[in-house]
């Protein structure tokens, strides 16, 4: 049976179809990807959850600040606490930090420019649901598309992230001022990952690199594993 991956849609999300399409590349026998409206209160039956990019709730107040109060977020928190794979991409990463499911915050890019470009990132750990099938040191070329992607946290948190091997991806040439070149981090157990680059937009050789497929492959493997956990 295909593993079921839910892609959450907030009012203002705009990358949900890209994620569903990219996950569709794994074929219907492996993956069934579908949209989950933000008003949903249960995530029962899903083997992984993706919070996609966009401008949830218009990014009013701060990116992610209002999305945190969407009904689905309580279910996402429970799902994450239960070990379920959760990946937040770009705005989804911002939502996860605002919700307290990931540490730190994403502030405005150094230089105050909206960045829409392709960057190099290196994989720093394979203990996460997004990098389990990758290798440490793997170099990926991925698109970024953000104004608030400058990761920051206090010194103690950074020390902890390093000591606990929770820095998932680093930029090879820091585009936005992120602390320690951080492009993605994870929670203690590695089942919640947030990243600013868009792996779902790096899955088609005609328009980009296909380096995003390796990350999504890891997510599909983690979701499949989850699907076989006896309930």
């Amino acid at each position: 049976m295909a593993t079921k991956i839910g892609v959450v849609v907030f009012p203002g999300s705009n990358c949900e179809h890209d994620v569903v399409k990219a996950l569709g590349l794994f074929g219907p026998a492996r993956v069934e990807a579908g949209l989950v409206w933000h008003g949903e209160r249960s995530l029962a039956g899903y083997d992984a959850i993706v919070l996609p990019g966009g401008f949830a709730h218009g990014d009013y107040l701060r990116p992610g600040a209002l999305a945190r109060f969407s009904p689905v977020m309580e279910a996402v928190a429970k799902y994450a606490a239960d070990g379920g794979p959760v990946v937040g991409i770009c705005n989804g990463f911002q939502v996860l930090t605002e919700a307290g499911l990931l540490p730190g915050a994403l502030q405005k890019n150094r230089g105050l420019r909206f960045l829409c470009t392709t960057v190099g990132v290196s994989v720093c750990t394979t203990r996460t649901v997004l990098t389990g099938e990758s290798t440490v040191g793997a170099q990926l070329s991925l698109p970024i598309n953000h104004f608030e992607g400058n990761f920051t946290c206090d010194a103690a948190t950074l020390e902890r992230l390093r000591a606990e091997d929770r820095i998932v991806l680093r930029y090879t040439a820091n585009p936005n001022g992120s602390l320690d070149d951080i492009a993605g981090v994870c929670n203690e157990d590695g089942n919640v990952v947030g990243l600013m680059p868009h792996p779902e937009r790096a899955c088609d050789a005609m328009t980009s690199s296909t380096d995003g497929m390796g990350l999504l492959e890891s997510l599909v493997v983690a979701a499949t594993r989850r699907a076989h956990v006896p309930v």
């Binding site: 107040l61 701060r62 600040a65 930090t97 605002e98 540490p103 730190g104 915050a105 502030q107 405005k108 150094r110 230089g111 105050l112 400058n150 920051t152 946290c153 206090d154 001022g177």
Partner: protein, 85 residues
């Protein structure tokens, strides 16, 4: 009673404030010399129903801590602007 409350949110000291820095650099170009410590943030004007002024302040502080500011990168100050109306 209703209390007019001002909540100001700005970046924590030590967090880079590129907007503030840019404005600070721009001011001398207009002849405004001797200005430093420019910081950019947000201001919220609220009209809060509360039994007395300390209660209005307490509610605003809680709102600031839980929603209006992100404590990871921001600090807030609460000012009750005038007495009850």
């Amino acid at each position: 009673m209703k209390y007019e409350v001002l909540v100001e949110v700005r970046l924590r000291p030590g967090i880079a404030d590129p907007q503030g820095a840019t404005i600070e650099r721009a001011l001398p170009a207009l002849g405004f010399e001797g200005v430093d410590d420019v910081s950019v943030g947000k201001a919220f004007r609220l009209s809060i129903e509360a039994s007395d002024e300390p209660a209005a302040r307490d509610r605003a502080v809680e709102m600031a801590d839980r929603l209006l500011a992100n404590p990871v990168i921001e600090v807030s100050t609460v000012t009750v602007l005038d007495g009850a109306r």
